[in-house]
Symmetry: D2
């Protein structure tokens, strides 16, 4: 019976507790939160779980095998590092850390201690995203043209991170997973609509080899909620709409055909091919349930998780580069070096 | 009875001929197209209209008061200039010309000769766009935060201009009309997916004073058709979806409220206000019908049209600056000077 | 070169004229309408077409091979009969006639004179409806469970016929075509919301053998426009939404599975099977274009059209039975005998 | 501190327990279910709640003030009657009972004992339905024309009641609440698609005075989920779509205007008035939370609940009449007398 401690019982913590509590052979041993009023509902609902406002006590509790961290981003590094040093396996909500250096140190520490370090990139565990990767891996889309994502709605302002670190973190983790490629430059633009606050809307472009382009629109100030990703390929195109209750994924047999070999700019015959649309059924199991089970399994088998520290680091690198670009008025930045890309 | 000649009978020319033909006190006197096979249906449908493959003959025909030009962009300047020099009033499809210099010369020529020069920025004559301007002018949206536009679909490739000059020309003319402001910098990114062809998808950002931002996504290679503009304001927000058959405009009583006066970055209380949505009925009259009548009226009254040469020039300036930025890997360009903006 | 005359130039007549005029080897020889003001636009647009307010003149014009009738329903019989007697092939807008007896006499007359009698059941010539029939014929849906259709919107009131004869005529012709079966009873309910007017909304149920049921909701007083047909089968189910611009047809791999053989009412295990959805591409050619060409072809080849007089008669029989049921407060009526069905 | 017992911990029972548990000054004292495996999760989640498979023990437990019953319909009467006789206030899931006689006896018993008898007509406690009633009560819709409701999806088969008792019970309770009128006749048609099972789809029509008509389509075998009610009035019309995440209610300023006074059937000028659409914000609080609090308040104040036994009885009367009509091949039945209506 594995025992897991959860730090942070605000918005996301209750979901972690519930999902771990539902797993067989796992128990949630302790929940910690600095705010005592947050702990009351834990005791009400789960009288078997110990609660504490002393986070250090949780981090060093000998009977806990693993720790899940659901706290503000700026605390991730400190808490995760302490947990690793105490010999705990660690699951941390996204993004992994607030800086590339911190993320790198966590990855190194986990490797050195042979502990599982996993990032809660929740969408990777949805049926829809797994199906997209399957389609791309099978070559169904043909040569990839672009990746376009819109994730906008009204609220919630995350006061310690801007909208990129809050919303684009999801999309970058999805892109990282389904494409398996890293851009050589990113460029971002954003606006802080409330004076003295972080950016509440942003546009981010990622540049890859082969003219492939990814673009992200994230916005906390949109009147309507949109969660839509389009992936264009030469053979097929995908529209992934996470708000669709059942048909989240639509695969279009549409594209461009070059007719003839006259490439002169005014006469090339570009034909449009339209065809059937197909909405494959996707597994609608709650992603966090699958993710929690995966975390436990990786600990048991000593195997790296799908969303390991390295994946978390890649996303942090992109976010850090995007932030640097944003501060430099959209100048492209190479996420591999975090130096301006010219 | 005013007489109008139409040059170009491809995709858009038939709409011009039909709408002018339906106006009282106006006749379409002549249609010209280089391709004789395009002229056959004109004669079939409108035996009263003279047709010719000699465009020069149309431009100098003494009985024509005005000329409407619906030809590829690179021909606009030459044809419009000849028409003005022949003393004709001119309506030219968007964009006005292929370069800023050409657009400026057309504007100057029209002023000098006291002729009406109008650009066919069709959307300005829709009920939806006029209603948006009305709402903004009345201050209903409060302080403006952003303008976000998506115009994507599959096809048609315009081989002589890239996707910005084809699709974003519409959105820039709408933005110019409803905001009445000019950005101090634009930045664009795009990709030519078919080798040797013009860019088939692009992202364009316009930067204004007061942190206001406008962003445009145009794409000829999208699997689905989207025509959606969001305009965010402190008091209200608009979603304009041109594909909605009747409720094209939705006005949301939603926004952000700053509570309290603690502006420290981690504690400011930003509240979200949600409220009713309202879809005002908009005039669904065909825009080109209203536009054709407006052109005739402006000639009769010697008044400048809503979409005069100056409006056309402003849009061309933005497109030229966007293209320069696109070629400079997204470097911001000042459309007023067309010099890189730092 | 076949020559066709068109009677009635109100809402639908212009579409008939335009589509016949676009066919090769066919000319529209004459257009008749009692209202001279309707004929003016014909002459403007098609100066080669003779116009007349004397319908008799058109019906007997020796150079016309065929006549298309687009007039109010109560005139169909008289005009079509005269045309047949004058030796013309006839295309008449739906429904074929105002009574079963009239429809029967038209069918007989056409047979006797070996002339083509075709009803303008336009939807039969759409790609979507032809694809539905193809799927049903191929047995893709398995045993059929139900046919449910909603055709509602605001207006237009047809003052000479009620909403069943106006709107349900479309749906009954589609059902007749895709199922190829005739109900043994129909029951209808409706309301005339405007005093002294015909029914403006109605519900119609058709009863078939094997517990198969078809149901129709037609309404001139709905705030929104809906055009949606669901066809449920044991293996697959279809949703046909005519308002969808491109994905008009969706085929769902969903249904019911009986598990085990315990049929006791409280314990039978009924399982639901969900699966992929597939939206086959359908031909989006204007239906009336295909229909007009089909009419001409049937005349040339002396073959019966897809929507011949017999099909028109079947639909009139259903409408007459529905009206009888409506007047008898929903009592089921057998359309084959038009007697109350018990 | 009021104490409540809950009988039945299947699909709906957990929602009752959770919502009562969250109320201040209320405790869930006991949960009973015949199936011991259903009780395990109660103890896991709420260790303070006593559990039992002996329903009689719960019904007579002296410390329980009230009982909530979430069991199959055929058990409602027996359980509710025993609870009332034991002096408990009763909340019973819809429909109140399986027969009119049983429902009447429950109402009588509650009155005689001065106990609160409430039916769980959940939708009455949603913000959307309360807003609809508010609009109708304020006369905003003008004269009412029709009420049209569609509630269809795939599954779940309720084996002890047919689809009317399962799904239409919701819609009839909503109609009863927003209209406050009772039909003088109902007619229903339905089909049992699985041999030996109850009806899985049905159409139900309710006839009122003044030509007002209500119609319901319920179906367990539809490929897509639809929850849409249209209410047509002379002045305004409502579309209520429960699947819309935020804009559940749309009010259309559309209708019919009679122009002039010529009422002759072929010439009356019926004009269509189109206007703005308005989506009022509705309270999105979980309905069951409001309902649970209302039940407690009614007990404390000894006032009748909004959905009291009388409301439950009216719905059962309509369902019983509908079933009688369904068995009589759609013959109209008067729900007030349950005799055939001629």
């Amino acid at each position: 019976m594995m025992s897991i401690g959860v730090i942070g019982y605000g918005y996301w913590g209750p979901n972690l507790v519930r999902n771990f509590a539902e797993l067989p052979n796992v128990r949630v041993g302790m929940v910690a939160d600095l705010r005592p009023e947050r702990l009351a509902p834990v005791s009400d609902r789960y009288p078997g779980i110990a609660v504490t406002t002393d986070i250090g006590a949780l981090l060093t509790a000998p009977r806990l095998d693993a720790v899940a961290i659901a706290t503000p981003v700026y605390t991730h590094f400190e808490l995760a590092m302490q947990a690793l040093r105490a010999g705990k396996h660690v699951l941390v909500t996204k993004p992994l850390a607030a800086t590339v250096a911190d993320a790198e140190r966590l990855v190194d520490e986990a490797v050195r201690r042979q502990l599982v370090l996993m990032v809660d990139h929740t969408f990777i565990y949805t049926g829809a995203v797994r199906k997209i990767r399957e389609l791309i891996d099978a070559g169904r889309l043909g040569q990839l043209y672009y990746y376009d994502s819109v994730r906008v709605n009204l609220g919630l302002f995350q006061h310690d991170v801007n909208v990129l670190w809050d919303l684009a973190a999801h999309d970058l983790s999805i892109m990282d997973y389904v494409l398996g490629r890293t851009p050589h430059a990113v460029a971002a633009t954003g606006v802080a609509h409330v004076a003295g606050q972080v950016e509440s809307m942003a546009y981010l472009t990622c540049f890859f080899e082969d003219r492939f382009l990814a673009h992200f629109h994230v916005n906390w100030l949109a009147p309507v909620k949109i969660r839509r990703t389009m992936i264009g390929g030469a053979a097929q195109m995908i529209v992934y709409d996470d708000l669709e209750p059942s048909e989240k994924l639509k695969v279009y047999d549409r594209g461009v055909t070059l007719n003839g070999n006259d490439e002169s700019i005014y006469r090339a015959l570009v034909g449009y091919r339209t065809g059937d649309m197909w909405a494959p059924q996707v597994d609608l199991t709650e992603a966090l349930h699958i993710e929690a089970a995966h975390f436990v399994r990786c600990i048991e088998d000593a195997t790296p998780p799908l969303t390991d520290g390295a994946a978390g680091l890649r996303v942090v690198r992109l976010l850090a580069a995007a932030t640097e670009s944003l501060n430099a008025h959209g100048r492209p930045v190479d996420p591999r070096t975090l130096a301006p890309s010219v």
